[in-house]
Amino acid sequence: MKKLFTARHLKMRAGGAKCAVALARGFGARLIVLSVIMVGLIPISWPGYSQRDPNARCLLECHANPGFKREVAPGQFRALFVDYEQFKASVHGEKLCVDCHTDVTVIPHQRRPEQIHCLQCHYQGNVVGAPVSERPEKYKESVHGKAFERGDPNAPDCKNCHTVHSVRAHTDPLSPVYRVNIPKTCASCHVEIYTDYLEGVHGQALRNNVLESAVCSDCHREHDLFPPDDPRSSLHPQNVANTCARCHTDVSIMERRGVPVKQVEAFKKSFHGIAIEFGILKSAHCISCHEYHKILSSRDPRSPIHPLNLAQTCGQCHPNASSNVARGRFHIIPSDPDAGIVFWVYEFYRWLIIVMTSFFVLYIVLDLYGRWRHARRRPHG
């Protein structure tokens, strides 16, 4: 896995103790520090931490050394360096190394600590106060989690999206899950999609620092991420409209960007929308017509909804569609004056219904009244 933020992690710093490590060789072998050769004895000051720091023991002896690594196979090394500056700046900066690495009781530890996982704290109902509002537990059921379980070497674990020791809140511009960085984070594995995405309106807008624009996780969710044919997926045909609706019905976002907001409502009222809602999945939903990563404005000639391409777009499902379909606006709400002639037909029927129904009811009341008068006048008639 090519780390995206490696530059930052590998930032070298001068000073510090050097650990010459002799490591047990071979996969799975317990890490036994046979000898730790101290080259320089404890220096006076340590960049990033003081000696009184509770984590100092872990650091000064080994993990603050940028070159501290272990040979996992001949010629292959695994870095064991922890950038403590980054760590202190991370959301877990107040934690002790041993809060997470719980099996490390003596330092230096005698054997390789157990593999640990973020979910040991970030589960629903945990007592250490680890936030779970984004429901990271769902990761286990997601495509990624399942792939990871299968042993797919490319599948992401928490650390691929969050890093391990320099986890930052998603509001922090330095975080890999900060809105602007998310596409790049996903791109480390999904490169072609990233390039498509960058060409689309959402990618373009994000590049122009429109933070409200859609990033990968707005559409796909971040942890409960499922393939679209899974009904739990936010992009299952029946859920797509609601996923887009989060932003595309929000006047405060759309007005600023000059994008109309009524498409979702119009779609849900249209036959396509009704059909999708009640289970005719072959009907059209937003992305049948708009594409998904490379969503383009109707003004863009490459867009599937450009008037010149529309016949072909509808033609996926309606083979006879001609260029005629492009005449007239597409997403319309009949009760909205913008709908033109459709609005007038709607109004015509609305008033006709009101007038005629009142007439019918009035007539019936009158007729009953007439009969009653009559019956009273001639009680035996």
Partner: protein, 297 residues
């Protein structure tokens, strides 16, 4: 009853005693009692038989609609009911009840099939009706159904009558203004529904010829006209055919083709007069023999 029996017995006893100028003996008294009881029973029996036979006497009726016409109405009614129960949930797809129907009773796919069956019945009956209008009988009905100026004045007069401004109900012919109105509303409504419905049904073909907004117009017209028709049915039609005190709970004429003489005289007096004038004086139905029949043609 026991009272009247006793009273009668006592009266008879007194009369006889006066006539014979002696008190009656027991045997004679018993005899009187028996006779009185038999007489009373006979009278009661006659009364109840009369009560039973009475409506039969009034059951003289006319044939208002031909079998053909009744069948047309029946098919139309079935079609419209199918269309209504499957159309409303589509129109009100946002509502909880529509959701309930589609999720638990029948799926949208099934709904669509039933809707199209209903539409086929409606179109079948339209074609049938148009064909029938070309026949001799049909042409005569059509002439009767054409709106005339008189219908307008009938309407005004009827409203006056309801308000008590005029003592007389206007006299209607074979079809009153309200029936004509309903007929022509149906013709118009069916035309709109069939044309717009066919377009949506065969959108695959229609998409080759029409721009998208035509479909939107068709959809609006379809749903607007449908709601109008349904509201007309549940107010106007239900009232005239069911809840109207004259016919409550149901006017069977459209199913049996028959209309009673009483209702004929009340509701279609002009037609009645015409018929009486035209037809040779039919032998009056004799009492107890059930109703006589008069043809309307």
């Amino acid at each position: 009853m026991a009272d009247s029996e006793e009273q009668l017995t006592r009266e008879l006893q007194r009369e006889l005693e006066q006539e014979l100028e002696r008190p009656l003996d027991d045997a004679e008294l018993r005899r009187i009692k028996e006779l009185v009881r038999a007489q009373i029973e006979k009278e009661l029996h006659a009364k109840s038989r009369a009560a039973k036979e009475k409506p039969q006497e009034a059951e003289e009726y006319f044939v208002r609609f031909s079998m053909n016409f009744c069948l047309q109405h029946l098919v139309l009614a079935i079609g419209v009911i199918l269309l209504t129960i499957t159309g409303l949930p589509i129109k009100f797809h946002d509502s909880a009840w529509a959701e309930f129907i589609f999720r638990h009773i029948w799926s949208l796919e099934v709904n669509r099939i039933i809707h199209r069956v209903g539409a086929s019945l409606l179109m079948l009956v339209s074609v049938w009706h148009i064909g029938w209008l070309m026949t001799h009988a049909g042409r005569r009905e059509l002439r009767e159904l054409l709106p005339r100026v008189k219908d307008f004045w009938d309407f005004i007069a009827h409203v006056k009558f309801m308000l008590g401004l005029s003592p007389e109900r206007p006299k209607f012919g074979r079809y009153s203004y309200s029936e004509k109105f309903e007929y022509w509303a149906l013709v118009w409504g069916t035309a709109v529904m069939v044309i717009s419905g066919l377009m949506l049904w065969f959108h695959r073909i229609a998409l080759a010829y029409f721009p998208k907004y035509i479909f939107d117009v068709a959809l609006q017209a379809h749903s607007g006209e449908a709601l109008l028709a349904i509201l007309a049915l549940v107010t106007w039609h239900m009232y005239h055919a069911h809840f109207n005190p004259d016919v409550f709970p149901m006017n069977m004429t459209i199913f049996t083709g028959k209309i009673s003489k009483k209702r004929m005289m009340e509701e279609h007096p002009l037609e009645y007069e015409q018929l009486i004038a035209l037809s040779p004086p039919a032998p009056l139905p004799s009492e107890g023999e059930g109703g006589g029949v008069r043809g309307v043609g």
